[in-house]
Symmetry: C2
Subunit: 367 residues, 2 copies
Amino acid sequence: MKAKYTLFTPGPTHVPEDIMQELSKPLVYHREAAFTEILNESIKGLKKVFRTKGDVFIFTSSGTGAMEAAVANLLSFGDHAIVAVCGKFGERWRELVLRFGGYADMLSIPFGRSVPPEELERKIKANDAARFVFTTLTETSTGALNDIKSFGKLCRANNRILVVDAIAGLGADELHTDDWQVDVVCGASQKALYCPPGLSFMSFNDRAWECSEKSKAPRYYWDVRQFRKWMQDKGQTPWTPAIPLFYALNRALGQVLEAGMDETWARHRRLAEYLRKRVADAGLELFTEHPSNALTVIKMPEGVDGSAIVQTVKERDKMLLANGQAEMFRKVVRIGHMGALTKTDIGKAFDAFLHAFKEQPGPRGQP
Amino acid sequence: MKAKYTLFTPGPTHVPEDIMQELSKPLVYHREAAFTEILNESIKGLKKVFRTKGDVFIFTSSGTGAMEAAVANLLSFGDHAIVAVCGKFGERWRELVLRFGGYADMLSIPFGRSVPPEELERKIKANDAARFVFTTLTETSTGALNDIKSFGKLCRANNRILVVDAIAGLGADELHTDDWQVDVVCGASQKALYCPPGLSFMSFNDRAWECSEKSKAPRYYWDVRQFRKWMQDKGQTPWTPAIPLFYALNRALGQVLEAGMDETWARHRRLAEYLRKRVADAGLELFTEHPSNALTVIKMPEGVDGSAIVQTVKERDKMLLANGQAEMFRKVVRIGHMGALTKTDIGKAFDAFLHAFKEQPGPRGQP
């Protein structure tokens, strides 16, 4: 069946046909050796993607589920956390911390920028009570990339637990969970790992386990202690998993790991650099100071409605770019290049964007 | 691709090929009108399945996720709840209530029986503090069916909120959410609605909403207020949904609703009655006093190891029956007949069971 459009959205992303076909394979029973094999393969592959020797858990949920899992497994009522935010998905950490009864000490910066490590350091030094730092690798709303390596050093030196939402970045932007001293990383299936949505991931190291033993937040579905016990005792998940999505995940991981993470990151970087050059050549500006390699967020000149461009490209070219979110709805256009897209795909998407951009009325245009 | 075996497990269940094929259809973007249409169709269909005019929410999770959603959206720390339990999945309500800081007043009965309404009445009368009653429609571990209609009358008359885990029963055993005065019902995709696992459902009526406004349990991923707001404002889910599973769900719901719920329940009843007759004709006994129409749980005579039969049938006949759970591992064999299975399928499964049963050593056998 033909797609309505090619996805250049920053999740779900374009999923190659062979991976989509995995979904329709006959179901195995999840309380059976056949599923244990599949689960083991997924976890083994994800550990390579995360670059961790710690635990990795797979939840049947969206990426937000893994974020809730991180908070619910670490925090107790009344705990303090620093939340370093550079966009909408960073804000989600704040909401989660507050919902679980924590205090969120916010380090907020103008959207489009990345969190300066020295600002995080200042925040950490000023807040002895905060045991946790929540932040984002790749902020999908703005395209900003954070310097997680520096954050990791800072957090370890100051004995804080670092929790990173890498949902959009995982696979696209370099991330060395263990080497960079990140304690908990959240990811999801439908981004740079080019799977359909429905699975989320969380890495969890020994420092996180230590916190988790003390955590008093209510948790059951997300409880890593349950996941560990079931994994150790039976090689199974405690709850019924979304079996077809595991088939797709394993096939995608096989392809990603055949190339290797270094090459996968390099491939995303080449795509991103190519698109950023096209943007500059067209006389346009990025919205983002330190851009991620997962997506490119293009600033619309004053008076140009980005959402009209997205609409035109969708109808005329059958490609789906993404609008800005909330207050940035018309002000930016986002083009995802995470996952299985090629330079040719990205080139076509930008051609289509530029065609529609030049047709826009208003004081813009002729670059 | 050929299946390893036909599933007679009580979830995941056998999914017809045309529904499995839906999973591989090209992804739409969930922030797009195309997905809103799909979501509306799912919810409209589920309301007919649940027989409710109240709200129905769809989560990307297993059925346990919907159970956690019920607890997290209703309870506050220190709340009291009656938990009427007749098996392993009833016990799950207790764990959830405790994890969320509630007090669980347990009505536990011997496994294999159903909760007598008069016992529930006695419990309710004895516990003024408990605003909630948590129970199970179809207890998958024992095959027991509860008299939810009577529970509904009792709860309404005594101003309690009735929350029913109908995960295994939904679609197989009669359930009239509104007419039976059930306030919250949990369901899942991979049972009698013959979809793959990965989606869960929760109905939520006005009385539940009233409780929910007062509830102080931490919640974010499961928060029905978020789901309602996103649905009203945009016709979308707040978090990225498992899009392929919605395709499958809609196709399955189309088939279920074409037959209609009355006929769907009747079809399950006919399958169950046929299998129960076969069991009796073989001189065997049910484990269950008031059996559900979703699955049949056969008691093994003293000395017969049910798990060996399940193993033989799997290897020889390529059909997967289910063992008992935990302490019932060898003592029962469970045969699911929920979903898309036919009388012919069930007949073959029982033939295979009987063949293996008769080969078992020990003081059993010749019926």
